[in-house]
């Protein structure tokens, strides 16, 4: 049975290699997406106008001010020293964030005020997060953690992403979307193409077992998906300094598991549809949109309404993104990701069982 399988894989490789346009898109897209998210669509803000209203004018307040001055995220507007000047600068738009240090700052308990230009709430939130992080750093050096956290709101995200770098979010996200696209959408299209051409019938009349037909069709796409994983991983770590704190072996094994889940979805779609167009639309609507919107890639799951949070549990991408972050950022081992891995494994088994069932009903 090995020889017919090799014959089949060879044929499938011809299909992929000869469809130049699709191949270029499949190989080029991961790089383009990573670069796009890294350079253009970055939600990092740099060199935002910043001012300090220092009413304390003592050693601790100067230290805190210097820390802000050193940050690449903020550009100090040295001229803004009074409340009136601050208000004017906010109105002009040159000031995005102001820190008010009250008289007597330095002896806990202290309270600081962050004033932001909330006409753009996203920017305002991001900036106040940056500022909070800087203040926390300042206080972590001089006070105990308890006092520091009493001072400002601390988001758990900062724990592993102190600088709030968005690259940490989009590398796992882009990888997930690409693997879903290559594995699920491309295989569902490739299988339905055989149906449309009528070659599927001929293959089914041949002595090839149906399982072998499917395996032969998906193996080239597994290789393609893993190649994409490598490209994204390399760009993320080499160009954007994404840390890789965990084991590469575990990361590749998880990627393979997720590819398996995506493939089983693609196979399921192809058993239920008979034309390439339907398969593509179905993949886009049912797989790609939730993968992008509901997986936590772009919108944080915690800030979704409850019904959507519940639905997000059914999205394989959500679990894969968690696994990727756990391995890459936290350096976690199998003990940290076994639950998510089991969920993906369970989903894969479920989708394959469903595919086999609908395949059998078609034959019966």
């Amino acid at each position: 049975m090995i020889k017919p399988l090799l014959v089949f894989i060879r044929k499938e490789a011809f299909h992929i290699l000869r469809d130049r346009r699709t191949l270029i898109i499949l190989l080029g897209m991961p790089a383009v997406l990573v670069l796009l998210f890294g350079f253009a669509i970055s939600n990092e803000i740099r060199e935002a106008g910043f001012a300090v209203l220092d009413q304390a004018r003592n050693e601790p307040s100067r230290q805190l001010t210097d820390r802000f001055r050193a940050s690449p995220y903020f550009t100090m507007q040295e001229g803004v020293q009074t409340q009136a000047a601050m208000e004017a600068a906010f109105r002009k738009g040159s000031l995005k964030l102001a820190l008010v240090i009250p008289p007597g700052y330095g002896e806990p308990p202290v309270s600081l005020q962050l004033v932001t230009d909330a006409t753009d709430p996203n920017t305002a939130t991001t900036l106040s997060n940056y500022a909070s992080a800087i203040i926390r750093q300042e206080w972590a050096g001089r006070a105990t953690g308890q006092q520091a956290s009493a001072l400002v709101e601390v988001k758990p995200l900062m724990l592993y992403n102190r600088e709030l770098k968005s690259v940490f979010l989009f590398v796992p996200g882009v990888m997930t979307v690409i693997l879903m696209l290559v594995s699920a959408m491309m295989t569902s299209i490739a299988i339905t193409r055989e149906k449309e051409l009528g070659t599927m019938e001929v293959l089914l009349v041949s002595p090839l077992p149906p399982a072998l037909i499917i395996v032969g069709k998906v193996i080239p796409y597994i290789l393609l998906a893993l190649a994409n994983t490598g490209v994204i991983l390399w760009l993320g770590t080499a160009v954007f300094d994404m840390p890789m704190r965990g084991s590469y072996l575990l990361l590749w094994a998880s990627a393979l598991l997720f590819v398996g889940t995506a493939l089983s979805l693609g196979i399921l779609i192809s058993t239920r549809t008979s034309s390439q167009q339907v398969a593509m639309l179905f993949s886009l609507m049912v797989l790609m949109l939730p993968t992008i919107l509901l997986s936590g890639f772009i919108f944080p799951i915690a800030s979704m309404p409850l019904p959507l949070q519940v639905i997000s549990n059914a999205i394989p991408a959500k679990w894969f993104i968690i696994i990727l972050k756990d391995i890459m950022l936290k350096g976690g081992g199998l003990s940290l990701i076994w639950q998510e891995s089991l969920i993906l494994l369970g989903m894969t088994t479920f989708f394959i069982a469903l595919s086999v069932r609908s395949f059998k009903t078609r034959l019966a």
């Binding site: 020889k3 089949f8 044929k11 009528g198 001929v202 293959l203 009349v205 002595p207």
Partner: protein, 247 residues
């Protein structure tokens, strides 16, 4: 299990297929002899395709039995599949592969050794006179050539029976004639040909013809005897008499 040369190559006995309450094929029984060209006719929806799917192991009968080359199709579909060839009305070639690659692929999935597949391929291309097309992708060669190639590929592993599902759809009359010459050649070498068609002139070329109406075989005989039985000038009239709703 092996059947003797005298016994029929295809035996259907009370072959039935139901989809829910609808009976697509209603207890049909017939036999096809070795080396025969058997025409399988019927209007659209009469149950031809379903019957053919049961004979090729693509679909399981609700009741009744089909034996091909002496093997029970439902019980051992994988054994039957090694003994039959199949050509669909879409000609089923990969358009982005070359002629030679198509031949070698189909040879490979039928377990032909690489060397043998290559030899058979060169031989076939020579027989068909397709040397000029051998390294061309199938999308670039004319429909008539694709049809001949598709038929030859179905015969590549020397099957006992070849099933042709409307093999001449969309092909011009001259090419159709040439194609039927290929069918005769195959039958002369002992391959049984089981063919469905829409063209009544093609029905005249068959050794025997069966006509399905509403899931049942309404008539089965040689074209000559069918014409005299129905007092018709040609097969077209026979077909109309059988399929037209009775007044």
């Amino acid at each position: 299990m092996q059947n003797s040369p005298q016994s029929p190559i295809i035996e259907a006995s009370k072959l039935t297929k139901q989809f829910g309450a609808f009976t697509a094929v209603d207890a049909i029984s017939f036999e096809v002899e070795r080396g025969e060209i058997f025409g399988f006719l019927g209007a659209n929806g009469a149950g031809k395709t379903t019957a053919m799917r049961m004979l090729t192991g693509l679909s399981r009968p609700t009741s009744g039995q089909a034996r091909v080359a002496g093997i029970d199709v439902a019980a051992h579909p994988e054994k039957v599949k090694q003994r039959i060839g199949y050509m669909s009305q879409k000609f089923s070639l990969y358009e982005d592969l070359t002629v030679m690659e198509n031949i070698r692929f189909y040879g490979g999935i039928y377990g032909l050794p690489r060397k043998q597949a290559r030899q058979a391929g060169s031989q076939l291309i020579e027989q068909l006179g397709m040397e000029a097309f051998a390294r061309k992708q199938v999308s670039g060669i004319p429909l008539g050539w694709r049809q001949k190639l598709s038929f030859s590929i179905a015969l590549l592993h020397q099957p006992d029976v070849v099933f042709l599902d409307e093999p001449t759809g969309g092909v011009d009359p001259v090419t159709r004639r040439q194609f039927w010459e290929m069918i005769y050649q195959a039958a002369e070498t002992g391959t049984t040909v089981f063919v469905t068609t829409h063209y009544m002139d093609e029905a005249e070329y068959c050794g025997r013809v069966s006509i399905m109406v509403d899931g049942q075989i309404a008539a089965l005989d040689t074209p000559d005897r069918l014409k005299s039985e129905f007092q018709a000038a040609n097969m077209h009239e026979v077909f109309l008499q059988l399929t037209r709703p009775k007044p």
